[in-house]
C-alpha cells in the first residue's frame, strides 16, 4: 500500500503537487519537497508558475546543503528572469553558494576565486543593492583566505629549510597582496630567510648574501621602527655582521694558505 505522499508523487495532479511541495518546503521537509520540485520544474516549463517554482527549487537545494546544484539553479533563475524582483537575491545567492563551498586555505582555492568573481559581478550589476555591503565583506573574507594561503606556503619554504625559495615566495606574496596584513611579519621573515640562506651558502657567496640581508634589515627597521619584531630583527643584524666577519676571516685564511702553498711550490 502506497503512502499518501507516494500516491501524490506518482499522480498527475500537478496543481496539487505544487501546493503540497510549497507546504512541505514551509514545513522544512526539504527532502520530500525536492522530490516533488524535481518533477514539477520539468512540467511547468514555459508557464507562469515556473518562476516562483524555480525560486523554491533553488532554495530547497540550498537548504539541503547541495550548494553545487543550488548555485546552478540560482544562477539559472537570475539569468532566466532578470527582471524578477527576486533576481537580485538569486544573483547574490549564486555567489554565496560559491562562498560556502570555498574550502580551508590549505586546499585548492578554485571556488574561492569563483566566489570573488561572482560577488564582484553582483556588485557590478546591483551597485545600489543593500546586499553590496555584505558582498564586499565576503570578498574581504575570501581575499584574507588567499593572503593567508600565500603567507603559509611561503613560510613553509622557510620551515623546511629552502631559504632562497622562502625569500622569493615572501616577496611574491607581498607583490600579489600589497595590503596584506602579514606584510610586517613577512618583511621580518625575509631578513631571517636571507640570513639563513647566506649562512648555509658556500663561503665564497656568503658575503654578498649577508649584505643583502643587511639591506632587508635596514628597509624593515625604517618602515617599522616600533615593530614587535624589532628586537628579533636587531639580533639578526648582529648575527649578520658576525657572519660577514667570520666569512671574511675564513676567506682571508684560505687565500693566505693558497699564497703560502704557491710560494712553497715556487721555492721547491
Amino acid at each position: 500500500c502506497k503512502s499518501k505522499f507516494e500516491k501524490l508523487r506518482t499522480s498527475n495532479d500537478v496543481a496539487k503537487k505544487y501546493q503540497e511541495a510549497i507546504k512541505l518546503y514551509n514545513k522544512k521537509d526539504y527532502t520530500k519537497a525536492l522530490t516533488l520540485f524535481d518533477d514539477l520544474v520539468q512540467r511547468y516549463r514555459g508557464r507562469s508558475e515556473a518562476e516562483d517554482l524555480y525560486y523554491y527549487y533553488a532554495y530547497t537545494n540550498y537548504q539541503l546543503k547541495d550548494y553545487l546544484s543550488a548555485r546552478y539553479h540560482f544562477k539559472t533563475f537570475a539569468d532566466t528572469y532578470p527582471s524578477s524582483p527576486k533576481a537580485e537575491e538569486c544573483r547574490f545567492m549564486t555567489a554565496y553558494c560559491y562562498y560556502i563551498d570555498s574550502p580551508n586555505f590549505s586546499l585548492d582555492q578554485d571556488n574561492t576565486y569563483k566566489a570573488i568573481e561572482s560577488l564582484q559581478l553582483f556588485i557590478n550589476i546591483y551597485p545600489r543593492s543593500e546586499r553590496v555591503a555584505e558582498a564586499s565583506k565576503l570578498i574581504l573574507d575570501l581575499r584574507d583566505k588567499l593572503e593567508r594561503k600565500s603567507y603559509a606556503n611561503a613560510k613553509l619554504f622557510l620551515d623546511i629549510g629552502d631559504y632562497q625559495a622562502a625569500v622569493i615566495a615572501f616577496r611574491n606574496s607581498m607583490k600579489d597582496f600589497p595590503d596584506t596584513k602579514f606584510a610586517e611579519e613577512m618583511e621580518y621573515l625575509i631578513i631571517e630567510a636571507q640570513y639563513l640562506y647566506a649562512k648555509n651558502s658556500r663561503e665564497i657567496k656568503q658575503e654578498d648574501r649577508y649584505n643583502e640581508a643587511l639591506v632587508e634589515y635596514e628597509r624593515f627597521i625604517e618602515k617599522y621602527p616600533k615593530s614587535e619584531y624589532a628586537d628579533k630583527a636587531k639580533k639578526l643584524k648582529e648575527d649578520i655582521l658576525k657572519g660577514i666577519a667570520l666569512t671574511k676571516e675564513i676567506l682571508a685564511t684560505y687565500s693566505e694558505n693558497k699564497k703560502v702553498e704557491k710560494e712553497d711550490e715556487q721555492q721547491q
Partner: protein, 821 residues
C-alpha cells in the same frame, strides 16, 4: 514551374503559369497534408514553417525551405509540395508525405559480449535513422571495418528487420554477424632489396609475420592497423641503418585462400649514407667540443636520423643535448639539425641551436588538492623558487607526488608557465585526488574455523584535526598521515588487534618519518583461564620508529631506527623452545634501504634494497645467571639475539610491457652466548602464501614460498611451528599488465623461485634451495588493496612432510605494498 518536390517533376493543375521565371506573391489559404499515419500534422506544419495567412512568393524561399525542413527530420522517404489550386492571390497547397519506418533499436547476434558493446557504440549514430538500403550499407561497412582492423577480413553480415510493436512505425534491426576466422599471413614477398635480406626485412615488421608453427609470439595474424605501423617501422629501420632514401614503393595484399593472404611488397633501398662534418651554430653556453661529446656521433658513422633525434632530443636517460640545456634553465631551448651538404654518400650537418634565456623558477602553483593540504604536496616538490628551471627536477617532483599515494598517478600534470619579460617561470602542478583509504572486511577459514577480519587504513589522516569536527569527511583528512586499525578474531581461540599511526614529516620541518604501533594477540585452546589444561600464548607489542631520507649517496637512500618491545606470555604452549612463562624481547633495529621503484603496485623499473640489523642487549653477559642449568622460563625471560636481514628486488622492462622482477632475500639470527642458545622468537617461517595471517603469532616472520604449504619449509626434523634462524630465498618473476587503470590494476605473472631454511650457519648453503615454478595474477582495487592468487608447483620434497610440495594454490590479500613477499 513550382516543383520543390524531391522526385516527381510533373506539374500539377494550376490556372496560372507558375514558374521560377515569374514567381508571384500569394497568401496561403490552406495546406492539406496527405499520407501521414503516425505523425502529428500540426507539428509537421510547424516544422515546415508554412502557415495559413502567410504571404509568400511562389515559388520562393519559403516553399523550398519547407521541403528542406521536413527532410531534415529524416522521417520521410518522399516529400512533395504542390499547388492544389489558386484563387486570386490565395494559394492552396497539398503536402504529400511518405512516412518511412525508423530504427528503434539494433540487435546484434553472433558476437561476444564485449564485441557487442563495442559495436553497439559505433552503431549508436544509426539509431532513429530511416530504414532503407543506405542504412544496410552503413551498418555493413561499420561492422566490417571494425573487424577488418582486428584481423577478420571475411566478416559476414546478415541484416533483417522486424516491426517494433512497442513503437509505432519503427523497426528493430537484427544484425547477425559471423566474423569467421582471423586471416593469417601466408607469405610476404619482398622485391627490390639488395643490401637487406628478405629475412631481415621481415624481422623489422614486429607484428606482421608469416605464419609458422614454431612462432610463439605473434601467430601470423594479419591486422591492418598493425601492418600499417609495421610498414613505417620497416622504413624507419632501413633508414636507421643509413639508407635514408629507403621507402616502400608499393604493396598489395591479396587473398591466398579463405584463411590467409599474401603480401607483395616492393622496396627501394637507395644508397647507404654516412655522417660527414657536424657543426654547431648558435651555442654560447656550451662550447662545441662539449656538445659533440654529448652528441656521441662521429664523422663516418652510418647515417641515422633516429640516432640523431635520440642524442639531440629524446634519450631515455636524458643524456641528450636538449636535456643538457633543459636541466640548466634554458626552458625555450630549441635545436634544429639541418643537412647542409650531401656529397656522394656523406651528409654534412649543421646543428642550429637556439638557447634562449636561462629561466629561474619563480612561483610554485598547486591546483586540484581538494582534500590534501598544500604543505603535504609542496614539501615534496623539487622545483624550488630561485633555482634554475630543470626538466629532471620536474620529473622527480612528479615521482614524489605520485608516491604520496593520494593522487591519481596518470593525472599528475606539470606545466611550466614562462614569463619571458623577467626571465622567470612559474610551475603549475595539477593533481587529482583519488580514494586512498582501504577497508578490509573478510571472513575466511583458517585452522578449521571461521576467522573474521576488520581492518581500516586511512592514508591521508590528519591527527591535528582529531578534535575539529568540521574537518571530518568522514574522518579528519589532508595531512598525509597514515592511521590503521585492524582486528581479527575467531571467537575464543584467536584474537588479534593492532593499531598504527605514522607521520611522514615529523615536526613538519624535515622529512623525518615517525611511527608508533601497538598490538596484542591471543591464541588459546578455548578453555577458561582457571582450567589447568588451558593452553595459550599472549603477545603484546609496542614499537616506535624514526626514519629519515638521506642525501648521500643519493636521495633514494633512507635509514630507519626503531625500538621494539614485545612481551610473550605462554601457558602450556608447545612448539616453542619453552612452554610456560613470560618472555620479554626489547630490541633496537636499524634499517638501511634504497627504494627507486617507479610505482607501488606495478613497478616497471627501479630497485628496492633493504638491509636490517636488529639486536637486543647481551643480558647473559652481565646478569650473572648460570645458564647451564637454568629453567627454560628463566632462560628466555629476556630474549637475546642479533638478527641480520638483506632483501633486494629489481624491476626491469624486458619486452613490450613485460616486466622482470628479480628478488633475493637472506635472514640470519645469531646468539651472543652459546650457553643461552638460539632465541625462541622472531624466527623465519618459510613456505606458502607468506600471509601474515592468523594462526601464528607475530613473534615470527612469515616468508612466502609458493609451491609449498604454509610454513612447511623447515630443516629435516625441525617442528614447523617454531620457525628457523636462517633462511634464504630467490625469485624470478615475469609480469605482464592486463589493465592499469585508476579503478583497478591487474597483472598476470609467471614465477620461478627457491628458498630454504637452516638451523645452523655451518649448514648454510645458498644453492641448496627448494625450488618451484608457477603462475598467478594480482588485482589491486583502491579500496580493497592487493589481492592475489598463485598456483605453484614445488619440485623438492620436504623430508617428513610428503604433502608439503607439489601443486599448491595460494591466495593472498592486502600484502604490504613494497614488501618482499
Amino acid at each position: 514551374q513550382l516543383r520543390p518536390s524531391s522526385r516527381n517533376n510533373t506539374p500539377k493543375a494550376s490556372d496560372d503559369e507558375i514558374g521560377y521565371l515569374n514567381p508571384k506573391e500569394y497568401t496561403i489559404a490552406g495546406i492539406k497534408i496527405n499520407g501521414v499515419n503516425y505523425l502529428d500534422t500540426a507539428v509537421l506544419l510547424t516544422i515546415s514553417k508554412l502557415a495559413v495567412g502567410d504571404r509568400i512568393m511562389v515559388p520562393g524561399e519559403a516553399t523550398s525551405a519547407a521541403v528542406k525542413n521536413l527532410w531534415d527530420q529524416r522521417l520521410f522517404e518522399d516529400i512533395e509540395l504542390s499547388i492544389a489550386k489558386i484563387q486570386g492571390d490565395s494559394v492552396y497547397f497539398n503536402l504529400n508525405l511518405v512516412e518511412v519506418p525508423r530504427v528503434s533499436s539494433i540487435k546484434l547476434s553472433g558476437l561476444t559480449k564485449s564485441e557487442t558493446t563495442e559495436i553497439q557504440e559505433k552503431l549508436n549514430n544509426q539509431k532513429s535513422k530511416v530504414v532503407n538500403e543506405n542504412l544496410n550499407k552503413t551498418i555493413n561497412a561499420i561492422i566490417k571495418k571494425h573487424f577488418f582492423e582486428k584481423g577478420y577480413l571475411n566478416t559476414e553480415i546478415d541484416i533483417t528487420y522486424k516491426a517494433d510493436t512497442s513503437d509505432s512505425n519503427s523497426k528493430i534491426v537484427f544484425v547477425k554477424v559471423d566474423k569467421n576466422n582471423k586471416v593469417k599471413v601466408n607469405a610476404i614477398n619482398i622485391e627490390g632489396n639488395k643490401e637487406f635480406t628478405d629475412a631481415k626485412l621481415k624481422k623489422f615488421m614486429k607484428k606482421t609475420h608469416e605464419q609458422a608453427w614454431y612462432k610463439v609470439f605473434g601467430s601470423g595474424k594479419f591486422i591492418q592497423e598493425k601492418y600499417e605501423e609495421d610498414k613505417d617501422k620497416l622504413v624507419a629501420k632501413m633508414r636507421e641503418k643509413g639508407y635514408r632514401e629507403a621507402e616502400i614503393v608499393s604493396d598489395t595484399i591479396y587473398p591466398n585462400n579463405k584463411k590467409s593472404i599474401n603480401i607483395d611488397m616492393k622496396v627501394h633501398e637507395g644508397p647507404k649514407y654516412y655522417f660527414g662534418n657536424i657543426n654547431f651554430v648558435g651555442n654560447a653556453k656550451y662550447p662545441t667540443s662539449i656538445l659533440k661529446q654529448v652528441l656521441k656521433i662521429e664523422k663516418g658513422e652510418v647515417f641515422s636520423e633516429e640516432k640523431l633525434e635520440k642524442t639531440l632530443r629524446s634519450s631515455p636517460n636524458s643524456d641528450d643535448v636538449s636535456s643538457l640545456y633543459l636541466n640548466d634553465g634554458y626552458l625555450t631551448f630549441n635545436v634544429d639539425p639541418v643537412q647542409t651538404k650531401i656529397y656522394n654518400d656523406t651528409i654534412d650537418l649543421e646543428i642550429r641551436i637556439f638557447e634562449g634565456p636561462q629561466y629561474t623558477i619563480n612561483k610554485i602553483i598547486l591546483k586540484g588538492n581538494e582534500l590534501t593540504n598544500d604543505q603535504v604536496v609542496l614539501r615534496e616538490i623539487r622545483t624550488k623558487p630561485g633555482q634554475k628551471f630543470s626538466k629532471d627536477a620536474l620529473i622527480r617532483s612528479q615521482r614524489q607526488i605520485t608516491q604520496l599515494g593520494n593522487f591519481d598517478e596518470q593525472k599528475v600534470d606539470i606545466k611550466p608557465i614562462p614569463n619571458p619579460a623577467d626571465g622567470t617561470v612559474d610551475i603549475q602542478y595539477t593533481v587529482v585526488e583519488k580514494p586512498s583509504d582501504q577497508i578490509e572486511l573478510s571472513g575466511g577459514f583458517g585452522g578449521g574455523r571461521v576467522v573474521g577480519t576488520l581492518g581500516l587504513t586511512f592514508n591521508n589522516f590528519s591527527a591535528k584535526n582529531l578534535f575539529n569536527l568540521k574537518a571530518y569527511k568522514p574522518l579528519p583528512k589532508g595531512d598525509g598521515q597514515k592511521l590503521s586499525i585492524r582486528g581479527q578474531t575467531n571467537g575464543k581461540f584467536y584474537q588479534s588487534y593492532s593499531f598504527s599511526f605514522s607521520e611522514p614529516w615529523f615536526g613538519g620541518k624535515k622529512p623525518i618519518y615517525f611511527g608508533i604501533s601497538a598490538f596484542t594477540s591471543l591464541q588459546s585452546n578455548g578453555l577458561a583461564n582457571s582450567n589447568p589444561i588451558q593452553q595459550k600464548i599472549r603477545l603484546n607489542g609496542l614499537t616506535f620508529s624514526l626514519g629519515k631520507q638521506l642525501k648521500w649517496p643519493d636521495d633514494f637512500f633512507r635509514v630507519d631506527y626503531s625500538a621494539n618491545l614485545q612481551q610473550f606470555k605462554l601457558k602450556n604452549y608447545a612448539g616453542y623452545l619453552f612452554e610456560n612463562g613470560d618472555s620479554y624481547d626489547l630490541s633496537l633495529s636499524q634499517v638501511f634501504s634504497r627504494n627507486s621503484i617507479d610505482a607501488p603496485i606495478f613497478p616497471t623499473s627501479g630497485s628496492n634494497i633493504k638491509f636490517t640489523v636488529q639486536a637486543t642487549l647481551p643480558y647473559s653477559s652481565f646478569n650473572g645467571k648460570n645458564y647451564d642449568n637454568l629453567a627454560t622460563s628463566e632462560r628466555y625471560k629476556f630474549t637475546e639475539y642479533h638478527k641480520w636481514k638483506f632483501e633486494s628486488q629489481f624491476f626491469q622492462r624486458i619486452y613490450g610491457k613485460m616486466i622482470l622482477k628479480a628478488q633475493a632475500q637472506f635472514g640470519f639470527i645469531g646468539f651472543y652466548n652459546k650457553a643461552v642458545g638460539q632465541a625462541p622468537f622472531g624466527r623465519f617461517r618459510l613456505g606458502g602464501d607468506g600471509l601474515q595471517g592468523f594462526d601464528f603469532l607475530q613473534g615470527s616472520e612469515v616468508i612466502g614460498l609458493r609451491g609449498y604449504a604454509n610454513n612447511s619449509v623447515v630443516p629435516e626434523g625441525a617442528p614447523t611451528t617454531a620457525g628457523s634462524p636462517i633462511f634464504n630465498k630467490y625469485v624470478l618473476e615475469l609480469r605482464h599488465p592486463i589493465t592499469l587503470s585508476e579503478s583497478a590494476q591487474v597483472f598476470a605473472l609467471a614465477f620461478m623461485e627457491g628458498g630454504n631454511t637452516w638451523n645452523r650457519f655451518a649448514d648454510f648453503n645458498p644453492f641448496n634451495v627448494k625450488r618451484s615454478v608457477g603462475v598467478g595474477a594480482r588485482i589491486f582495487l583502491p579500496i580493497f588493496g592487493l589481492l592475489g592468487i598463485d598456483y605453484g608447483y614445488g619440485f623438492d620434497r620436504i623430508i617428513g612432510n610428503s604433502e608439503a610440495n607439489k601443486g599448491q594454490f595460494h591466495f593472498s590479500i592486502a600484502q604490504q605494498l613494497g614488501g618482499f613477499n
